[in-house]
């Protein structure tokens, strides 16, 4: 009973801290999004609220809360409210299986710095991400507005399409690790054996799919002023709209954390052994937490960087890329990885596979061009 209590309290603390970090990062993502956009366009960005404008998220939140919370007369009221709640819920649930750090030992008891270490960790992530579509879909449907519905349909079909390629990209990770548990996936990658070196193609596929899943540019089709007035959240106002936008930023941070976990060694960082010897394993674990969060924030920066660099795809181009580009690539990657595991040299084979792929594409391209001239 005593042990149960300790574990329960420890888990509660971990969940609370993860929750707080996620919300804080998401809130400040809105600020940094605007700052980064400004810097990339040679501007200054928000700088009025507090020093360097760091109180801007607070000001935005106050503004959101002060706005009229409007529910359209012909909407389905309960579903209308459920939409943003679901979005927020699913966005926050994903972080449960992300291993934020190695175990720490306090007072003789050892705790994993992770919400839950389930043996289906990655499937949990996928399940929750798939559920995330419901938040958008229900919101768009309940609005009783054809444009909102169109936006929701766009979001849903886009997410479903890119989930396939994403799943196949992850299959290669599972083949290497032999486990679905996120903790084990990270432990296999310790001491610099990061999956990015063994799976460069898989990572490219995964990050492109992550962009699509988060509805970020260049795949931000569900939000579109010119075609859809606003998107799936056209009818939303006040904090319900705020929740939708907030969920997007949480998703961005969490998908960064998942990418760091799957491909960039999770909480691994150069010099773990040195820190462990000098300061003990607990400190090393906490530095690891910092490393993971740093990596996640790095990915958040990449998300923003891409957003302020390139324009969006047209919808048919988006579908084309997903179904005829990424899924065959992911299948090819699975075959190459399988071959690598078979002959026992995964690193060599993955690089050879990438080179072979580009060479094959090049030859195909040359043949095609010659045909056109003839």
């Amino acid at each position: 009973m005593e042990l149960l209590n300790t574990v329960f309290i420890a888990k509660a603390i971990i969940v609370g801290v993860v929750f707080a970090i996620t919300l804080g990062v998401a809130a400040y993502s809105t600020y940094f999004e605007r700052k980064i956009a400004a810097f990339m366009q040679d501007r200054i960005g928000p700088d009025r609220a507090g020093p360097f404008g760091i109180l801007q998220p607070l000001a935005d939140a106050v503004k959101m809360f002060m706005k009229e919370d409007f529910i359209p007369a012909n909407s389905n009221k309960w579903l209308f409210i459920a939409g943003p709640c679901l979005s927020m819920l699913t966005a926050l649930m994903t972080s449960a299986v992300v291993p934020f750090g190695d175990s720490v030992t306090i007072g003789g008891a050892t705790f994993d710095l992770q919400g839950i270490d389930v043996n289906i960790g990655i499937l949990w992530v996928f399940g929750i991400v798939s559920l995330g579509v419901y938040g958008i879909m229900i919101g768009g449907w309940a609005s009783n507005n054809k444009f909102a519905l169109l936006g929701a349909i766009r979001a849903a079909s886009q997410n479903i399409s890119y989930e396939l390629a994403m799943g196949m990209a992850i299959i290669t990770i599972l083949m290497i690790t032999g486990s679905l548990s996120t903790k084990e996936i990270v432990e296999v990658q310790q001491n610099g054996h990061w999956n990015i070196f063994y799976q460069p193609l898989g990572f490219i596929i995964f990050i492109i799919c992550a962009f699509a899943e988060c509805n970020r540019t260049p795949f931000d089709l569900p939000e579109c002023e010119t075609e859809l007035i606003g998107g799936y959240h056209t009818e939303y106002s006040s904090m319900k709209l705020g929740f939708y936008l907030f969920a997007e930023y949480i998703n961005m941070f969490i998908s960064g954390a998942v990418m760091a976990t799957l491909y960039f060694g999770g909480y691994d960082y150069p010099g773990v052994e040195f820190v462990t010897q000098q300061f003990g394993s607990n400190v090393a674990s906490f530095v690891g937490v910092g490393a993971l969060i740093g990596k996640s924030l790095g990915f958040v920066f990449v998300f923003m960087w891409v957003r302020w660099t390139i324009p969006r795809f047209r919808y048919d181009q988006l579908m084309n890329l997903g179904w005829t580009g990424l899924i065959p690539l992911a299948m090819y990657n699975v075959v190459v990885t399988g071959f690598g595991i078979l002959i026992g040299k995964p690193f060599m084979v993955s690089i050879a596979g990438l080179v072979l792929l580009i060479a094959a594409l090049f030859v195909y391209d040359q043949l095609l061009v010659k045909k056109k001239i003839a």
Partner: protein, 172 residues
């Protein structure tokens, strides 16, 4: 029909492999944005920071005094005639004995008023003035006013202050 040799015929061929893969172009674009990320912002935070608008900027009016401190204006009314917006009005008065230090000419403007809502800051008054009395300052703008009675500016606001002489860039 070819009118000039400036026409450029744009031929869009098939995209090459690198172009169809998108990724090289995206990486190139990201390099460009990253370059700008570290470059200096061009923003001027306006109310706090102002930029130099040049010596010919037409800002707030001023009625100049001469070197000795006497008002140059002789109330000839040419500025009022030149003014396309009819913003200027004045009342002339003869200079009395003992006022030589106050007014340079024998006639002076007892009242000189500019309606700042009418003024279009064209600078024609400055060009019309034969006595080099009225100028539009290059470094000072008319402040915002909120009340009707702040609109008409009299001599108290227009005449140059002795402790704050106006000197345009380029003047000796």
């Amino acid at each position: 029909m070819k009118l000039s040799n400036k026409t450029k015929v744009l031929e869009q061929g098939e995209m090459t492999l690198a172009e169809r893969m998108y990724l090289p172009a995206i990486v190139g674009g990201m390099a460009t944005t990253l370059k700008h990320f570290f470059s200096k912002p061009v923003t001027i935070r306006y109310p706090e920071q102002t930029r130099y608008l040049g010596p010919v900027y037409r800002g707030q009016h001023i009625l100049k005094r001469d070197e000795a401190g006497a008002e140059r204006c002789t109330a000839c009314g040419l500025c009022a005639v030149a003014c396309p917006a009819e913003a200027i009005s004045m009342v002339a008065e003869e200079r009395k004995a003992g006022e030589e230090t106050m007014y340079r000419e024998e006639k002076y403007a007892k009242v000189y008023e500019i309606n700042m809502l009418r003024c279009i800051f064209c600078g024609l008054c400055e060009e019309a003035c034969p006595k080099e009395a009225i100028f539009l300052q290059h470094d000072k703008m008319v402040p915002v006013f909120h009340q009707r009675d702040e609109v008409i500016w009299g001599k108290d606001k227009l005449v140059e202050k002795m402790d704050h002489r106006y000197l345009r860039d380029g003047w000796k």
